[in-house]
Amino acid sequence: MDAIQLLNVSKTFGETAAVDDVSLTVPEGAVYGFIGPNGSGKTTTMRMILSIIYPDRGAIHVFGDELHGRCEQVGYLPEERGVYRRMAVRALLEFHGELRGGRNVTAEVNSWLARLDLAHCANQKVETLSKGMSQKVQFIAAIVPQPRLLILDEPFTGLDPVSAESIRAAILDLRRRGSTVILSTHDMSVAENLCDYIFMIFKGRKVLDGTLESIQQRYGNDTLRVAAEGGAAVMQGLPNVEKIRDLGHVQELRMALGCDPQEVLRALVARTRIASFAVTKPSLQDIFIRIAGNGAAEAQNA
């Protein structure tokens, strides 16, 4: 069964089309990554799935049922996080768990507190916790009791690597135990490594949807990954190279349509010493930038 079906969903705020005729199917048990620039419609789409706001047009089905209100099987961690800061951690988590699940969740709360290394502050007020600890508390509030569908809006923002790793492991564990996960992220490596499917929304419209492999397949083997003496500076003006993305020690070159990589290699050898040269599919970051516009790290090939 599909966890979520969006059928030609649109939502307008004033004159702005936040989501424009988007259709999407999220299979049960998948981790689905939502990517897109700020203000592209990710959060609006998530809020509509949660019935926090309603679409102007189209229909949304969650686990087969058309959504008309709250769904007790859905956990949600919003991007703009906030909890009652004067409540004790355990009391807060029990409140959120009981509000959604309708039953006592003390055992699950204790288990997750221990797992995310928060057991020692269970009786502390939330306002006394560090930002990272507070984010982990909010994550637990979203997953207790275990939801069939978990929606996480930017779950890794502001987390240190250790905390991010524990959240990543928790997400994968929840998937193993049957949860479907939707997460939005600006970190393309998270989308590439954690997500089974990727959905990109840009200016309210769906521009990418599928597995990483299928998305990369659409863009073909038009990318060269090169490490050479002199870095990006010596690569300026190479024939048949449309864009150079400087990653520091390595540069990604996007070739013109129909270009032979051997020609680029010959031109490069004539200019400098090559340390490595590989023909690859474009990275998700590159695809994102191709769709959404130039990033700061990308140099235009004149």
Binding site: R47, G69, Y84
Partner: protein, 444 residues
């Protein structure tokens, strides 16, 4: 749905009742509200009894001696507490000043300067023809020669002017009687005032036919309705008032979006309103119980308006529902608690307006203004309750019509508030204008 409403209500209620501001308010608010009564009690315990010297220009050249005599008589009889014998009012002394008919303005100026130097407290000028002033003419329309003018330096209610009013009139009457040739020995008998006792109406018990005798009215009978109205206003402001800032604060802390995944806006709002009602019931039960104990200890339990108490609680619940729903709606439309405070008057107006109208309503509790205001839903709880608690009460149909209006108003206010709340809590970064809130309420 009910489960989630109750869970939100329980959380908010426990959070509020354990908070220091609530406990502090529970004690301090009645003290502040009652500070006026305390002030009056303190002033009564330590009255200003410094002697007051009044200069009198008697242009009739006949009244002043009688005035001095009447003032002395009042000093002997009326300035002491009848039970304790302790002096409670200042003693007045009369200084008769010969009238300067050549330049009366200069004389008035000289006396005014003496009053400013506190050599005298005030001065009276009895007009040349004051003894023969036209009957039924108001002071504003009388020529100065027919008037008695009081010149003083105190603003507002001048107690001394009121104090002198009796002796001045007494002196004028005594002088007129003397001019009519009546023997002075009869003056006291002729001028003796009749004392009027305010009594309640008699009533007959419908079942037993027994007639209940009238009883003497006392000041406490007026204090009870005012106290009940004040208590109701205080309860509503104490519980629903802080909700405005609290909701704006929760919104600023981004608490709502996470909750919205588990509970709908209407459930969240209903839970908060229920918590406000529970909070108000808790504190009002404490206050009412304390008031009953105080009345019992003062042997005044008979004054407790037990028949109106159920109405007190009904109106209180309705008023808290309206106030809290509006607080939640406006709070959700604000970007910060500070912005919310700027809109506080909008929410509190239904509670404050009846307080401003207290005096005219007290003067005529069954008059047109009082009746119309008490049947106007936003004001019904406070004004109808006060009218019901007053001696004589109100026609039996009025509280029920008022209640229907209040229930309809509560439902309407909650419905409108829910529509504003649903949108307001997701709008970040700016405070909505009143026109925007109205648009949200209409369009949803």
């Amino acid at each position: 749905m009910l489960r989630r409403i109750l869970l939100v209500a329980k959380r908010d209620y426990l959070a509020a009742i354990r908070s220091k501001p609530f406990l502090f308010g529970l004690i301090v608010t009645p003290v502040l509200a009652g500070s006026g009564f305390i002030g009056i009690a303190v002033m009564k315990a330590k009255p200003d009894i410094a002697e007051r010297r009044i200069a009198v220009i008697d242009r009739t050249r006949a009244v002043a001696p009688a005035l001095a005599e009447a003032v002395e008589e009042k000093n002997r009889t009326d300035i002491f507490d009848k039970i304790t014998g302790k002096q409670t009012e200042p003693r007045c002394t009369i200084e008769i000043v010969p009238g300067d008919d050549a330049d009366p303005t200069a004389q008035r100026l000289a006396l005014s300067d003496r009053a400013r130097r506190h050599e005298i407290f005030a001065f009276l000028e009895i007009g040349r023809d004051a003894l023969h002033a036209p009957q039924n003419a108001s002071a504003e329309k009388l020529a100065p020669s027919f008037r008695v003018d009081y010149y003083g330096n105190t603003g507002g209610f001048d107690e001394t002017r009121m104090w002198l009013s009796g002796p001045v009139n007494d002196a004028m009457r005594r002088t007129r009687l003397a001019q009519l040739g009546i023997d002075r020995a009869h003056f006291a008998e002729v001028l003796a005032p009749a004392s009027m006792q305010s009594m309640s109406l008699l009533s007959r018990d419908v079942k037993t036919g027994q007639v209940t005798e009238a009883h003497k009215k006392n000041e406490a009978e007026i204090a009870i309705p005012i106290s009940m109205m004040m208590l109701l206003a205080m309860m509503v402001l104490m519980s629903a008032g802080p909700m405005l800032g609290a909701v704006a604060d929760d919104k600023q802390q981004r608490v709502f979006e996470m909750l919205l995944a588990s509970a709908g806006p209407f459930e969240l709002m209903s839970g908060k309103m229920l918590a406000a009602v529970a909070l108000t019931l808790t504190s009002s039960l404490l206050y009412v119980a304390a008031a009953i104990l105080v009345l019992q200890s003062m042997a005044m339990i008979g004054l407790a308006p037990f028949s109106v108490l159920p109405w007190f609680f009904i109106y209180m619940v309705a008023d808290v529902l309206v106030m809290s729903s509006m607080s939640i709606a406006v709070g959700s439309a604000c970007a910060s608690p500070n912005d919310a405070q700027h809109l506080a008057m909008l929410v509190m107006a239904p509670t404050l307006v009846p307080l401003f109208l207290l005096a005219p309503i007290m003067q005529s509790p069954n008059g047109g203004l009082a009746t119309v205001m008490s049947l106007t839903p936003p004001f019904t709880p406070l004004i109808m309750l006060m009218r019901q608690a007053m001696p004589g009460g109100v026609p039996a149909w009025q509280p029920w019509i008022g209640l229907v209006g209040v229930i309809a108003w509560s439902i309407g206010a909650t419905w409108v508030a829910a529509r504003i709340f649903r949108i307001g809590i997701l709008v970040q970064g700016k405070t909505a204008k009143v026109s925007e809130m109205m648009r949200w309420a209409v369009r949803g």
